[in-house]
């Protein structure tokens, strides 16, 4: 007890009347909320990791995430997600500037940087919406029950399994439906017009396709889609709620709420949350897109 007493005497941190952590209550609680949220995200990502390690095959992210808006079928691995990453980093920087303006009591500065942060958040959400939409609607040739089908991502599977060898593809072509043959022909050889493909018989299509380079895959692990949409969706929801919080902060700033209070600590707390969203993205980016 005596040692404790001397410590108290030396620092006076714990003698009451002041925060032992030199931090305002709300901000401290925001930190503890973020720590618990880190465990939630961490648990999701670790569960993803353990399922991934339990599979013999896992899709290569560079094969799955290779599209860019407006670039058609061009193979651009990592391009779009790097745009998303930079959007989030930049919006984190504008948030730092908003918090700094708040420290100085500069209302116009806070408004300006909050608007930029909100724009960054909305841009990120737009990118994610495009990416999800592209992954769900984009159909790929997949070997299912000995025949080739064009499937996109759905609840029962995804088209990003292991590549199927040439002889198997040739065998599967004989069982493949006319419609699939037409879309395969179209994707394998974009220079041939739709009318020309429509006029071709099944035998002609098969003959043309057997020499073409087709990227036929097996169905990928169901867990891949589940974890990807679950975790990026949960992160996207955090971004969404962060944008809402930032909009509320912007309105409150505009209505002089913080000016009248004499401090902009709420901006600081919203800022902590926003940086956390950026921090989580760094790890989501690592786990789903890089490794």
């Amino acid at each position: 007890m005596s040692t404790q007493a001397t410590t108290v005497h030396q620092t006076k941190w714990w003698s009451g009347g002041k925060s032992p952590f030199n931090m305002e209550y709300g901000k401290l609680m925001m930190w503890y909320f973020l720590m618990s949220d880190a465990f939630t995200f961490g648990a999701f990502l670790i569960s993803y990791g353990s399922i991934r390690f339990s599979q013999n095959f896992w899709p290569d992210p560079n094969v799955v995430f290779n599209a860019f808006p407006g670039a058609g079928h061009a193979n651009l691995p990592l391009a779009f997600v790097s745009v998303m990453t930079f959007i989030l980093i930049i919006s984190s920087v504008t948030m730092v500037l908003a918090v700094h303006a708040g420290h100085k009591g500069d209302k116009q500065g806070v408004i300006k940087w909050m608007i930029w942060t909100i724009i960054g958040g909305l841009a990120f959400l737009g990118c994610q919406a495009w990416e999800w939409h592209h992954l769900i609607t984009g159909e790929h040739a997949v070997l299912v029950d000995g025949k080739i089908e064009m499937i996109g991502q759905n609840m029962r599977g995804n088209p990003w399994g292991a590549v199927v060898n040439g002889p198997e593809v040739t065998a599967a072509l004989t069982n493949t439906s006319h419609e699939t043959l037409m879309s395969l022909m179209h994707s394998a050889n974009a220079s041939v017009s739709h009318e020309k493909i429509a006029a071709m018989s099944d035998a002609e299509l098969r003959a043309a396709l057997s020499t073409a380079e087709l990227h036929v895959r097996e169905k990928g692990p169901v867990a891949f889609g589940g974890y990807f949409y679950g975790i990026t969706g949960f992160h996207g929801f955090h971004v969404f709620s962060g944008v809402i919080i930032n909009i509320v902060m912007l309105i409150m700033t505009q209505k002089n709420v913080f000016q009248n209070k004499g401090h902009y600590l709420m901006i600081e707390k919203a800022g902590l949350y926003w940086h956390f969203v950026d921090l989580v993205w760094v790890f989501v980016f690592l786990c789903f897109y890089l490794i």
């Binding site: 009347g17 002041k18 925060s19 032992p20 952590f21 030199n22 931090m23 305002e24 209550y25 401290l28 930190w31 720590m35 961490g42 670790i46 990791g49 353990s50 399922i51 390690f53 339990s54 599979q55 013999n56 095959f57 290569d60 560079n62 691995p77 790097s82 930079f86 980093i89 984190s92 920087v93 948030m95 730092v96 500037l97 100085k104 299912v144 029950d145 599977g157 399994g161 292991a162 590549v163 002889p167 198997e168 097996e218 169905k219 692990p221 169901v222 867990a223 209070k261 401090h263 902590l272 940086h275 950026d278 921090l279 760094v282 790890f283 980016f285 690592l286 897109y289 890089l290 490794i291």
Partner: protein
């Protein structure tokens, strides 16, 4: 700016504008550079995957490097952008020490997943046959296998 409403806060951090701007600029550049390096490594791993030569060990090494770079990024975001580095030591420890649980958490569960895979490959031949990717140009087993069970889990 002082916070008169918060008497419990004993002292405030004062950073002058020039110092603050320099620090934010430096951190932003650092984060961008690390991200670009990560992307470069990611693309390099992609080319390694495409080549027929077995480079699994090299790929694993690069993936580990990307993980370390990501931790560096996380450190800069938390300590500079979130100002955790400027708080007092007691406060930092209440956040950082619980997060140490992740060290066990990550290793234990990844080990668990890997062990489950090995057990199933040993005792569940159906699992092994339907999910193990076939090697390219390997013409021994070429009957067409329906892959309907491949994503089981």
């Amino acid at each position: 700016m002082e916070h008169p409403a918060f008497e419990e806060v004993s002292f405030h951090h004062h950073t002058d504008d020039a110092e603050f701007k320099r620090r934010v600029k430096k951190t932003t550049i650092l984060l961008s550079v690390i991200t670009i390096i990560e992307l470069a490594i990611g693309l390099f791993i992609y080319t390694l995957h495409k080549s027929d030569v077995n480079r699994d060990f090299l790929i694993l090494g690069f993936k580990g490097l990307v993980c370390i770079l990501t931790l560096a990024k996380a450190y800069y975001i938390v300590s500079v952008f979130m100002h955790l580095g400027d708080e007092i030591r007691n406060m930092i420890m209440t956040i950082v020490v619980p997060l140490m649980l992740f060290i066990w958490f990550i290793f234990a569960f990844i080990y668990e997943g890997n062990s489950y895979k090995n057990l199933r490959n040993t005792y569940d031949l159906h699992f092994k046959e339907t999910t193990m990717p076939k090697k390219h140009g390997n013409a021994e087993t070429h009957e067409v296998k329906p892959a309907e069970k491949s994503g089981k889990e």
